[in-house]
Symmetry: D2
Subunit: 247 residues, 4 copies
């Protein structure tokens, strides 16, 4: 950078503006390479799918509450984004990690069924019982975002835009968990977006970063809506509900 000149990863900014879509720019900035056109649709889909999950999600609830406290919209967004931690935002990252481990095992010659079983077992020993990317305490039995995302992955694999290997891995994990639990344990949004990030070659930490960008849209939308309403110091529940008035 010098006065009158801005280059991003070696390209003059004025050559990027008007040529790259925002989604392509996200990939270019974080991965340092251009996203092949036939893969762009999958990244768009993953980013679109995770924008919001309603005001009961802690991130969204925080964005709305913060907006009533007299802070600016960037501050409300920051307080909310900040809580996309290991539990709230990390499942996608962990699922990318899990799928990559299974794939490594397959590359070394283990059959997929066995690779899934061994890796899941090992994961639970070192990380606890939660398998990231599968099951949902609320969307039971099916999170509507996952089948749609998987459909797009299979279409892309069908025209050889991606390998489809991680879609197979994800589905094999779901089958394994289902057989073990004797009830459906469907892939959730974190699992389905992790399949896409793996197919695109995106490493785990960055997968969480991309989820953060996606969820920031919902965070902004809710913060903005709340700001327009003008409420002051809104607590987490209506004032009538929690307080025990003593005589």
């Amino acid at each position: 950078m010098s006065p009158g000149r801005i280059e991003l990863r070696g390209k003059p900014i004025q050559d990027l503006i008007g040529h790259l879509s925002f989604t392509q720019m996200i990939w270019f900035m974080t991965m340092g390479e251009e996203l092949a056109e036939e893969k762009e649709g999958l990244l768009e889909a993953a980013l679109v799918a995770a924008v919001d999950h309603g005001p009961q999600a802690p991130s969204i609830a925080i964005a709305r509450m913060a907006s009533t406290c007299g802070v600016d919209i960037n501050n409300a967004m920051a307080s909310a984004l900040n809580v996309l931690g290991d539990v709230h935002g990390g499942a996608g990252e962990q699922a990318v990690e899990l799928f990559s481990q299974i794939r490594d095992s397959i590359e070394q010659g283990t059959p997929i069924k066995q690779a899934v079983e061994q890796t899941v077992q090992h994961w639970q020993l070192s990380h606890g019982k939660f398998i990231p990317g599968f099951g949902h305490r609320f969307h039971n039995p099916v999170d509507p975002r996952s089948p749609r995302l998987m459909e797009l992955v299979r279409e892309a694999a069908g025209r050889n835009s991606v390998s489809g290997q991680y879609a197979e891995i994800g589905e094999a994990v779901a089958r394994h968990l289902e057989n073990r639990a004797r009830r459906p344990v469907p892939m959730n949004i974190d699992g389905a977006t992790a399949v896409i990030f793996c197919e695109l070659g995106c490493p785990p930490t960055l997968a969480r970063g991309l989820f953060c960008l996606s969820r920031s849209v919902g965070i902004l939308a809710h913060a903005y809506e709340q700001t327009k309403q003008g409420t002051r110091n809104k607590g987490p529940v209506p004032p009538d509900y929690l307080w025990t008035y003593e005589p």
Copy 2:
């Protein structure tokens, strides 16, 4: 929302995934309406243009430093996003406000030249000497992003995708400031993106929110790059530089 069902602004999420681009989804979530196809390119351009301004920008410097302190990537992003305040992130919002005031004055019958002069004078009386969206202490005389963005606005106005009225207003402000200062005071990135946000009908607060989304991409890219490097507790300058060792 109910188990197995997620609707965003009345649309089932599975119908949005694969049909809306991420940029269209941003508009849909924040403005509550679909973005007309012929306008999408302008929003893409505004979002692409502001992603990064190098490690000397406080937001980017903070993202990098935070990443060396052992926090997760969402936390590093939050600390950085949080500082896009009135000074660092607010100029775009203020420029949207300024252009809107000028436009209101024109609507009431004031000729554009006079509307610009009066509104700028009034702005400086109530906000101080800085006119948001014009001049740059570093990119002097010209910020390369602005002419490119304005070129896209004029193209869009040429095919009647937008009115072009705010482009005229922005240019009139630049001429006015230039005449007054007897040196070029070109439109900067905040001014040029404000023209686009005005042309698209985006209100001031949301303009800052969209800038926050855009800059979050650069913040993520730098935080991720720094995380990969693995440095621990990196201060703002190389240790050798600041300290005065006393014998």
Copy 3:
């Protein structure tokens, strides 16, 4: 600072440790001077009074929610501290400003009653109807913290540790508002701590900073308690309460 040597505001740190209380250190670091011993009790009282206001306060609610999202305790504290904005954290700062304006008016010879009336009127014209530091939507008619703090101020004034002038000003404002509204509008916690900060000579911005330090204690206590409970992704209300299940 040099290797083996740390000085804070010109004093070697090892001479401060064990000699200054934490409260004295807070004053020394922020104001750059030692706090006179006879004034220390007032600062302790102001810091103690504002530590917590229960899980319905947005800051505390956010600290608890954040702790369930898998972030570290510093992150949960930051998300909460971040929302102590103009509405949630700024009333004390504004009350210091208001009292200082009234005092300036008195210094110029205006009788206190008139100084209060004029300054309050001017405040409402430029800032809107809220008078910072008076009234409480929940603790009605009396916030129990305020009379206790004012009692301590009067005691300190009685032994000439502080002037007591700001206590008089605060009480004059309460009387004025009460006469105007024909109902009690008692001083709240922000008003009472503002009286103390004014008596100690602490400027407005720093008054908000000291409130932030005080409330950080309650934020930490709640974040820590929630962390020990181990809940994951706790939304703002019990899951049974909000959702409308549709058949």
Copy 4:
């Protein structure tokens, strides 16, 4: 809590104000019990010792930079506090953990020297080479805060206010590391405050929380100082230093 009534951990707030010091209140809120008077001095010392480490510490640098971006003081503090993560703020927490493990080993009958060797070896196997609480890349050979804090611990142990057991453990670790490295590896501020937190019975997570409260004082002092200076958008280094101007 009910209108006109605020109780903190079962005590009416008006009975705490004026009776507890801020430091006692911190303990009461976080630990849920009153701090014995003879222990108060140690907690004061630990809180005083860690308030600041100059503008080269990332937390302090961020507080200063944030203040130039037009955000409020609570936001500047939050961005800074947020980075007291595992690397920047976690060493004290980890040292409490380490000392507690050594103590458990001693309780089970292992002699202290052997308990130290085994626990340190095990720690390095599972956490990597860094031993939290010992050595300093800048204050070499001695961090002046540590000997002073240890002196206070020994005095308190001498009058039976605390056991002194953790002081012995900390010193045994330092001797062990020194023998192994054949150079001094003195206890640093994190080690010395961890000894105090252990002597007081404070668990690891809370130790980090108390460090956060302490460092918040320095963060506030620097943010406030920078705010008063009024600089706008201050980057991490003077503009002349980093940029490569190309002709």
